[in-house]
């Protein structure tokens, strides 16, 4: 009697385990589907978030300067504070330009006048990628696209930056 009882409970135990594993696999397939359904919703909330970079418009010159600011980035379930940076200057028309420092080749950080050999250009130390001041990639260097530009606005004389976007071809 007691033996029988034990057998049943062992079988039950196995049964539970298997259901558990099956459930786990189903969840594994469901999660991506769920993400697809939910993702667009998550993304729209990210759009249009402009943050002050603590730089007064009056302090922006013709010479690109590096500004850094922090944003809370939500990556799936993981929320973290990341530092963003941009090269900011006024172009010949007095318009503010904020270039992303991320090289369009393989993603190193570019520096304005980062090489003595190439004044008046952005320079990428990784494979000598170069960009003109307006962000256009120098032909013959590894990058194949211009630097991204940040969405921006000016409020109360302060600069706000948002997302870096690939430059539209003019």
């Amino acid at each position: 009697m007691s033996e029988k009882k034990q057998q049943v409970s062992r079988r039950q135990f196995l049964n539970y385990t298997l259901t558990g594993v099956g459930g786990f696999m189903a969840a594994g397939m469901l999660v991506p589907m769920l993400r697809m359904a939910v993702d667009p919703v998550l993304q729209t909330s990210e759009e249009g978030d402009l943050k002050s970079v603590d730089l007064s418009v009056d302090d922006i010159t013709n010479e690109p300067q590096l500004v850094e600011w922090k944003i809370d980035q939500v990556d799936g379930w993981y929320e973290s504070e990341v530092t963003k940076s941009a090269w900011v200057f006024k172009d010949d028309n007095g318009d503010i330009i904020a270039h992303s420092p991320v090289c369009k080749h393989l993603g190193c950080n570019v520096t304005w006048e980062g090489s003595e050999k190439y004044p008046n250009e952005y320079f990428c130390p990784c494979h000598d990628g170069r960009y003109y001041k307006d962000g256009t990639n120098v032909p013959g260097t590894p990058p194949l696209a211009p630097l991204d530009e940040f969405d921006q606005k000016v409020e109360n004389g302060m600069l706000y930056l948002g997302k870096a976007k690939p430059r539209e071809e003019a």
């Binding site: 504070e81 090289c103 080749h105 393989l106 993603g107 190193c108 950080n109 990428c124 130390p125 990784c126 494979h127 590894p142």
Partner: protein, 152 residues
């Protein structure tokens, strides 16, 4: 690049551009209450460092998962094991190898390791969110990546 699916996808197509390996050396020890906090904190600092460096040099440097070892383990044996990792890694077009650690006991074995050891200052304690610590880390990262670049 990092050890992620996304970056490895890129890596396979661009590996001739990625010639530098960054290997964090992370000591670990749970048995001793008195060092737990400090060890964990330094681990966090190291994590920050490697991620900053990776971000700066993402196109040419591959950051691989930390090499973990027992804090008081025999370093000779660890050197041998690391050598095995490297032999495997060198099936890829890797030319420069950098280790990064705050564990000073590697100093004695620096010459046995193939590649260069980068030292991060061991910040004893503090708040990683504080301005001071962050600017300290920022400066150091700048210097470390400049050092790495000097090998290119």
């Amino acid at each position: 690049m990092k050890w992620t699916k996304m970056d490895m996808e890129k890596y396979i197509d661009a590996k001739e551009f990625v010639d530098t390996l960054l290997i964090p050396l992370s000591p670990f020890k749970m048995g001793d209450d008195t060092s737990l906090e400090k060890d964990a904190f330094q681990q966090e600092v190291l994590h920050l460092f490697v991620h900053e460096i990776e971000q700066q040099l993402a196109g040419r440097l591959l950051l691989i998962p930390s090499y973990m070892y027992l804090k008081d383990a025999d370093k000779e044996a660890e050197v041998k094991r690391i050598q095995l990792f490297l032999e495997d890694a060198q099936k890829q077009p890797i030319e420069h190898v950098f280790y990064i650690t705050f564990d000073a006991s590697w100093r004695k074995h620096e010459n046995e390791l193939q590649g260069n050891v980068l030292w991060v200052p061991s910040i004893q304690t503090g708040d990683l969110k504080s301005k001071e610590v962050q600017s300290l880390i920022g400066d150091q990262v700048e210097q470390l990546s400049e050092y790495i670049r000097s090998y290119w």
